[in-house]
């Protein structure tokens, strides 16, 4: 039995999850705003502490996860299974997806919700090497005037926004920091 799989989770789940959720909620409510998640989890590589904390806060047996590209490793699968109990699925059936931007595509494979239930859509957790407030200009709900966030590309997010109220929501993670881009945000 690998002992390190059992380590690195929340030490006090109710309190740690409440703190992480406040960060994730603030990020989703204020697109482009970078939130720092205090060092509460230590997931195995290549998963960042911020993405690990978000998974432990939001995922459970009700939420199939898609692991893309280099994130689909045995270590990571066992760690996520042990700490969340979430099943794994392909992009078509997932509620959360995790990976680098280049591995996650094509975005058309993910559920974007239905006109009656636009909430039945995937949330993509995108691991990035660089999370900064320069780059694309963001406007929309949650943003006073305009905000800026470095995004891996522009057109994919414009297409996603054009489907509103359907669409995907994104959480970008880098080390212990994260930012979010919901479908309601206009990117230019």
């Amino acid at each position: 039995m690998q002992t390190d799989v059992l380590d690195g989770g929340f030490s006090n789940p109710p309190i740690d999850a409440a703190h992480v959720f406040r960060g994730v909620m603030n990020a989703m409510a204020r697109p482009g705003k970078i939130e720092t998640i205090q060092g509460v989890v230590a997931p195995p590589a290549p998963l960042s502490p911020a993405a690990g904390a978000a998974l432990l806060t939001l995922c459970d047996p009700d939420t199939p996860i898609h692991l893309a590209g280099s994130f689909d490793t045995t270590d990571l699968r066992t760690w996520i299974s042990f700490h969340t109990g979430a099943p794994f699925a392909g992009p078509n059936d997932c509620v959360f997806a995790l990976g680098h931007w280049d591995d996650l595509g094509p975005l058309s494979s993910y559920p974007i919700g239905t006109p009656a239930y636009p909430d039945r859509s995937a949330t993509l957790i995108v691991e990035t090497d660089n999370l900064t407030n320069d780059g694309q200009r963001l406007t929309g709900p949650g943003i006073k005037g305009a905000a800026n966030l470095k995004l891996p590309e522009t057109t994919a997010f414009q297409k996603n926004h054009a489907q509103f109220p359907l669409g995907l929501d994104f959480i970008f993670t880098c080390g212990d920091r994260l930012a979010a881009l919901p479908r309601s945000t206009e990117v230019s």
Partner: protein, 285 residues
């Protein structure tokens, strides 16, 4: 005093995760009602079970929690929910609007403008603004997905043809970011302008009806109206009897058997602060 026999903030972790996922989707689709698996709470439906579940999912131990019921901090509903979270989450509570980080409210928005560091949680009885016009959930879902909101304007128009003005005075329907028509919960229409462009995060929880919806900060929220009958956020045309304020929303109180009445601020924290600062109305002691 926190009791160790409860999980932090009463709900179990899996329930909180389910509610938290619903809140995130609600924030991503402003004004859209996200279904959630509402739990039975240790209080009856109609006493804020939706708001309590949302508060339980967002509270952290460092928060300062305020609860208002029709603007008042000292009514049964407010007192019992405040002590519920003192016991189950160990959070500090306050009655001062500016000191609170999370405010749960039944049917008012505080007079004191909110800030970016605050979260306002509404208790919602009927989340569907079209429900009294169309009882079938399958139909109202379709109407929302097709943006078919003509019926709501017909209802407001019927108000005008019958009363000469739009007589809806609370739960006045709004349009969020030119997309979803939303019920702002039974706040007086006087409070509707505060929904728009508010720096705080606004979350709505309906326990019996099992819906959560949200307004991110700085979201555009317009009250429905007509060009020739513009929206009018009216209130009683009186100053507060205790603090003399002309700006606040007022409750009418019958004071004797001869039909005499006084008007007082519905927001008790606002009124008490003004009285403490020396403002006096004509009924002030």
């Amino acid at each position: 005093m926190m009791q160790d026999t409860y999980n932090f903030a009463y709900l179990d972790e899996q329930t909180k995760r389910m509610i938290r996922r619903a809140i995130l989707k609600g924030l991503a689709i402003p004004g859209y009602q996200v279904p959630f698996a509402s739990r039975e709470m240790p209080m009856p439906y109609g006493w804020g079970t939706g708001g309590v579940q949302v508060s339980a999912a967002v509270l952290t131990p460092e928060d300062r929690f305020k609860v208002i019921d029709q603007g008042a901090d000292d009514t049964t509903n407010a007192v019992s929910i405040r002590s519920f979270f003192e016991r189950t989450a160990g959070v500090e509570t306050t009655t001062a609007t500016e000191d609170a980080t999370v405010i749960q409210t039944r049917h008012r928005i505080p007079e004191q403008p909110l800030t970016e560091d605050q979260i306002l949680v509404y208790q919602v009885p009927i989340p569907e603004p079209l429900r009294f016009l169309e009882p079938r959930e399958s139909e109202t879902r379709k109407m929302h997905s097709l943006e078919e909101y003509g019926l709501m304007h017909v209802k407001l128009y019927e108000d005008i043809s019958r009363h000469g003005h739009i007589a809806t005075s609370y739960a006045y329907p709004v349009r969020v970011e030119a997309r979803y028509v939303m019920d702002p919960s039974p706040i007086p229409k006087f409070d509707n302008p505060k929904l728009d462009d508010n720096p705080a995060i606004q979350l709505f929880g309906a326990g019996r009806e099992q819906r959560i919806y949200a307004l991110p900060p700085y979201t555009k929220v317009i009250s429905l109206d007509f060009d020739d009958h513009p929206f009018d956020p009216s209130k009683a045309d009186q100053p507060c009897g205790l603090c003399g304020s002309n700006e606040s929303y007022l409750d009418e109180i019958i004071v004797d058997d001869a039909g005499n009445r006084m008007f007082v601020c519905s927001d008790t924290d606002y009124c008490e602060k003004r009285q403490a600062a020396g403002h006096k109305g004509k009924f002030a002691a």
